[in-house]
């Protein structure tokens, strides 16, 4: 909300500087987003009278002027030809600064000394709304009565401040100069002055002679007021009004239109001015549109309406969209001779809904959406009539049309006085409470332990005790609050859920294994899945679409973490980071149905990815270690996920259930994700995995007896997985503590298509020292199993 300081002063005495005022507004909850001094870009420009104009001796198009600037006479050379002796003009003296940044310096023009510059309206950044004649090509000629040597800013109305004030959505009443003035009064402890806005009307005439109104949808239009002005003469508005409109960013149009804009700003009530001759059959009907009815409002586009839209109509046709936009044919024109003002209260929900539905946003709809109150609606109509008279626009017709169906809502809020302390934790003295509420226009009485408050009509936001208590503390000051640390609260035990504990633990394990955590967006484009090369019926394609995404690439909720990981690795590669080892924990979204009827399943997943150091077995090591810390063993089987290298990938199997996969990124996916380095990823369904976590830790005695080690090398077909050899070797030998691989050999010493696998065995008994015989027996059994199962030959 832009508020002009001088305008605020119409309603409240402000006797402090603007910065102090801003601090006070902030302290009662009105953030001042910007303070602009209107004349901030003009320095050292004064009024001066042209005493003499002479031709320049050496230039046909230049003249030399003597200018009286009050305390001295300056010689200035100018090329302007709209000036004459005796004119009062703006003079930029030596060192002056103009809005476009120009700094004026004295100097010589074709050999003649010039001590400044005469300014045009454009050079001073002003328009016809700031000063008449400002748009003339040439020097701005000021009123001849203007005192000389005076700073130009007050002359142009620029000696003023515009405060841009943030108004929270619960305070629509403050979307106006009057509303802000009320708060300024509260902040300064003063009374706000609301003028009577009185006017005289032609009592021999009555608005009823001209127009009637019928509100057929009182639910959408609880208040509808009309007033008429006859013998209207359309003309520009007076300078004071145009200056104020311009200061808040509006443009002067004509007196009657400017009045409505002025009131919208001053009181926060949108109004409409009808050209009376365009109201057919002298009647206005406020009704719901018929389904399929069309209208062409001011923007000259055709809109098709439905029964939910409120229109302003005459007997024949809809002439305007109520509260949203007036009709193209009933507005004020140069030849308008009679004006009917409309001030109404429309349902804010309905305006909001329909302005969005129709795609029309106007100053009026924006204001109605926030909410207006009938107090202001009434005030606004009076103000419009009063301004019409004051500005000599025409003659006010007696009477007004008032169709009000709204019953004034219960405006008394009563509650126990002790509630103030109960909520705030501090006591506020009774007299102080009453005084604070009084500055807010709330008449309060404290009796029998109760506080009874009469709330003014314009404060729709005050509904119950806590609202009043907030008003008290925001004015009393939050600096009265004394910090206490839950002194009277129950003792509770803090903590995390099991799910959170698991994720936190897993993150710490991964960090210990050298992985950096990443966080990527929860949405992506369908192309992210396309690039993985999965089949059309893959679960990853069951995408939840956002209705209003910021772009195609962020239009679906992610169904997998893999694209986020691959994009991140790709970015790191493109930035020539030599290596990256990353992980992400995050939700992927699995719809029960498409389109979504219920909330989707939010599946916690883990993705690990790296390049530039390590291979498949490093990744396997990371996963094994992670699972191990949760008491799970990793089993692998070849994976057929299409985004993984078929020969360098595996599914992650825990207790027989596949909970994820890992491996090298398939060359096709790598190319599509612009991965230039060999890249490895793992994708794990953490919810499924964590169902297998074994949290029981049972102590096992540290062995008392020594271990015995034996090695064995066998030659097997190269296709035999070593893991299977080890598994087979382990069978049924309780004292076999560990089997490990120490070498694989393929080459000249071994037949082609075969490999030599060297395994190391560690035996230990819990109850005795094992003998050589026993060990030999076990080794024979092992060899037998390998020979039998894999056609292994002892090497």
């Amino acid at each position: 909300m832009k508020a002009l300081l001088s305008w605020l002063k119409d309603f409240v005495d402000i006797d402090i500087d603007v910065n102090t005022l801003c601090d006070k507004l902030v302290s009662i909850g009105f953030e001042v987003e910007d303070v602009e001094y209107r004349g901030k870009n003009i320095e050292n420009v004064v009024t001066g009278k042209i005493l003499k104009i002479e031709k320049h001796p050496d230039a046909d198009k230049l003249v030399v002027c003597d200018i009286d600037v009050g305390d001295e006479t300056l010689q200035i050379v100018t090329g302007a030809n709209n000036i004459k002796e005796g004119d009062v003009v703006p003079v930029a003296k030596h060192g002056a600064r103009l809005p476009d940044g120009t700094v004026i310096k004295k100097g010589k023009l074709r050999g003649v000394e010039s001590n400044g510059m005469l300014c045009s309206g454009e050079e001073l950044g002003v328009t016809e709304d700031d000063y008449p004649g400002a748009s003339v090509y040439g020097i701005l000629i000021l009123d001849a009565a203007t005192p000389l040597g005076m700073d130009i800013k007050p002359v142009l109305g620029l000696d003023d401040y515009v405060l841009d004030i943030g108004v929270t959505s619960n305070r629509p009443d403050c979307q106006s100069i009057l509303g802000i003035a009320r708060e300024v009064a509260v902040a300064l402890g003063k009374k706000v002055k609301i003028p009577e806005f009185s006017y005289t009307s032609d009592s021999s005439d009555d608005i009823g002679n001209y127009v009637s109104a019928d509100v057929q949808a009182p639910d959408l239009c609880p208040v509808y007021l009309m007033g008429a002005v006859k013998n209207v003469k359309i003309a520009p508005s007076p300078l004071w009004m145009r200056r104020r409109l311009r200061a808040v960013g509006l443009r002067g149009i004509s007196n009657m239109v400017d009045i409505t804009n002025y009131i919208l700003w001053e009181l926060g009530q949108p109004m409409h001015a009808f050209d009376y001759k365009d109201i057919r059959d002298k009647s206005i009907i406020v009704r719901r549109a018929k389904d399929g009815e069309t209208i062409i409002p001011l923007d000259n586009k055709t809109y098709t309406l439905d029964n939910d839209v409120l229109v302003i109509a005459d007997k024949e046709r809809a002439v305007g969209l109520a509260g949203i936009m007036g009709g193209s044919n009933s507005g004020i024109k140069d030849d308008t001779t009679m004006v009917v003002f409309e001030a109404a209260k429309f349902s804010r929900e309905n305006i909001r809904k329909n302005s969005r539905k129709l795609g029309i946003r106007s100053d009026s709809s924006a204001r109605f959406e926030k909410g207006v109150n009938s107090f202001t609606t009434r005030l606004a109509l009076k103000r419009a009539m009063q301004l019409s008279q004051q500005m000599g626009c025409g003659v006010c017709v007696g009477g007004m049309i008032d169709i009000t169906s709204e019953t004034a809502h219960a405006d008394t809020i009563a509650f126990r006085f002790s509630k103030i302390k109960r909520l705030l934790g501090i006591s506020v003295p009774k007299a102080k409470v009453i005084a604070i509420l009084d500055t807010l226009g709330i008449h309060a009485k404290a009796e029998d332990g109760m506080l009874v408050c009469d709330v003014p009509e314009y404060r729709d936001d005050l509904e119950r005790d806590c609202d009043i208590i907030e008003e008290i503390i925001r004015v009393y000051g939050y600096d009265h609050i004394k910090p206490t640390l839950l002194e009277n609260a129950s003792i509770t035990h803090g903590g995390r859920t099991k799910e959170k504990i698991y994720v936190d633990k897993a993150k710490n394990i991964l960090v210990g294994l050298g992985c950096d955590e990443i966080i990527t967006y929860g949405f992506f484009g369908k192309s992210s899945v396309d690039k993985l090369g999965v089949s059309a019926d893959d679960e990853m394609y069951r995408l939840i679409r956002i209705k209003n995404p910021l772009g195609e690439e962020v239009s679906c909720m992610r169904s997998t973490l893999i694209p986020g990981m691959l994009n991140t690795l790709s970015l790191n590669q493109s930035r020539a980071n030599r290596a990256a080892c990353l992980f992400e924990f995050g939700k992927v979204f699995k719809p029960m149905s498409i389109p979504l009827e219920d909330l989707p399943y939010e599946n916690e997943r883990l993705c690990v990815g790296f390049y530039g150091g390590g291979n498949f077995f490093r990744l396997k090591g990371i996963i094994t270690a992670l699972l191990g810390e949760f008491g799970c063993d990793l089993e692998v089987k070849r994976s057929d996920r299409p985004y993984l290298h078929p020969g360098v990938s595996a599914d992650i199997v825990v207790d027989g259930e596949v909970v994820g996969c890992f491996g090298a990124v398939h060359p096709n996916a790598a190319e599509k994700y612009q991965l230039t380095e060999e890249t490895f990823i793992a994708d794990i369904d953490f919810d499924r995995l964590s169902a297998h976590f074994n949290e029981t830790v049972k102590f096992k005695a540290i062995p008392k007896f020594p271990a015995v080690e034996r090695d064995l090398s066998v030659v097997v077909d190269e296709s035999v997985p070593v893991g299977e050899l080890i598994a087979a070797a382990k069978q049924n030998i309780p004292v076999l503590e560990e089997v490990s691989l120490f070498d694989i050999y393929q080459g000249n010493q071994v037949e082609k298509g075969k490999k030599s696998v060297s395994l190391s065995f560690r035996f230990r008994s819990e109850s005795k020292t094992l003998t050589d015989d026993e060990i030999e027996k076990h080794m024979k059994k092992i060899l037998g199993a390998l020979q039998h199962g894999f056609d292994a030959k002892l090497r």
Binding site: R496, I518, I519, F617, R618
Partner: protein
């Protein structure tokens, strides 16, 4: 003549029909023999001048058709060759996935700065008896707005630009819906903390469409605004330093009444005024307030018996202040050189 051309085409096709034992270079060699300067096909074209003028157009057309057929055959063969090469490569690269792990650890990794900040905040509040409870990122209109005293078509909805999935399902714009979920299930005393991702359709230099919030809620008998300030001051002093002060400014949130913006003394200059705090000595960090009685009532908690407070803050903002990170986009770019700085 016709037959000769046909034979030529067939001959080419048969030479490349079996790629199983052929190398890619060999295919290229056959291609140049079949379509190159000295190929039979080119020779045929050269022989055109020996043919009667009236037959030339028909002959030319036939040769061109033949060329097209041969080219197509090669295109097909080249595609198959590429697939075969990839297949061979993948086969050659095949490893025994059952081999043991490589357990070499290449230095220690790092938690994301958002996680670090969230963990630190949760630790502080866990000590005060707060329970960490997370909620869904995709929410219903009811939990995200209605239950929090933000009715449909209410101007307060403009405070947050919402991504919608359907008319009724949306991406949560704040972590507050989880307050409602918890209060529906549990009677006071409640002390909870909800960290998580939130989404708003806002993407510019200082906004990210996804960011993180952490939300705190206390509902019990005798909870006051003084407790809110005491809690937040204790929190701010633990997170920044023991001299940190808090300041309340009146504000508006539909789900708290009174509502306040909470400023902390600037951690950079200690309140003297610097660039970070724009010379004010204060930085805006939290929104907070006393839980609106309508919200309690919506959750089946008596507003006569209980009061409560709630607060929420953006984790990116906290991390930016704490570590001096200048730009919110850095959090989601995940450049390894960024990630490795936080510990």
């Amino acid at each position: 003549m016709n037959d000769k051309i046909r034979e030529l085409v067939e001959n080419c096709k048969s030479r490349i029909s079996d790629l199983s034992n052929m190398a890619a270079a060999e295919l290229q060699k056959i291609k140049s023999e079949s379509l190159g300067k000295n190929s039979e096909l080119t020779n045929l074209l050269k022989s055109m001048r020996d043919i009667p003028a009236e037959e030339r157009p028909r002959f030319g057309q036939m040769v061109n058709e033949a060329r097209k057929l041969i080219e197509e055959a090669f295109a097909d063969a080249e595609r198959k060759m590429k697939e075969k090469t990839l297949r061979d490569k993948l086969e050659k690269e095949r490893v025994d996935i059952t081999l043991p792990c490589d357990n070499a650890v290449q230095g220690r990794g790092h938690l994301h700065p958002i996680t670090l900040v969230a963990d630190e905040i949760m630790d502080i509040f866990k000590g005060l008896g707060f329970e960490v409870l997370e909620g869904p990122e995709i929410e219903t209109d009811y939990y995200c707005f209605e239950a929090l005293n933000i009715p449909k078509n209410h101007p307060a909805r403009d405070m947050q630009d919402t991504f919608y999935i359907t008319d009724n399902i949306l991406l949560r714009t704040h972590t507050s819906p989880n307050q409602v979920r918890v209060m529906e299930k549990k009677q006071p005393p409640i002390k909870m903390l909800c960290p998580g991702k939130v989404y708003r359709s806002d993407d510019d230099a200082s906004h990210s469409p996804m960011f993180h919030q952490i939300e705190g809620l206390v509902v019990d008998k005798h909870i006051t605004l003084c407790d809110l300030q005491g809690t937040l001051e204790a929190f701010a002093q633990a997170l920044f330093d023991e001299k940190t002060k808090t300041r309340f400014r009146p504000s508006f949130f539909p789900f708290t009444e009174p509502s306040v913006e909470v400023d902390l003394t600037c951690s950079n200059c200690g309140g003297k005024g610097c660039k970070l705090c724009k010379g004010t000595g204060w930085i805006e960090v939290l929104g907070a307030g006393m839980v609106h009685p309508k919200v309690l009532e919506n959750c089946g908690i008596s507003s006569e018996k209980y009061t409560g407070y709630a607060f929420g803050m953006g984790l990116e903002r906290i991390a930016m202040i704490k570590y001096g990170i200048p730009n919110i986009k850095l959090f989601f770019e995940n450049d390894a050189r960024f990630l490795k700085q936080f510990r």
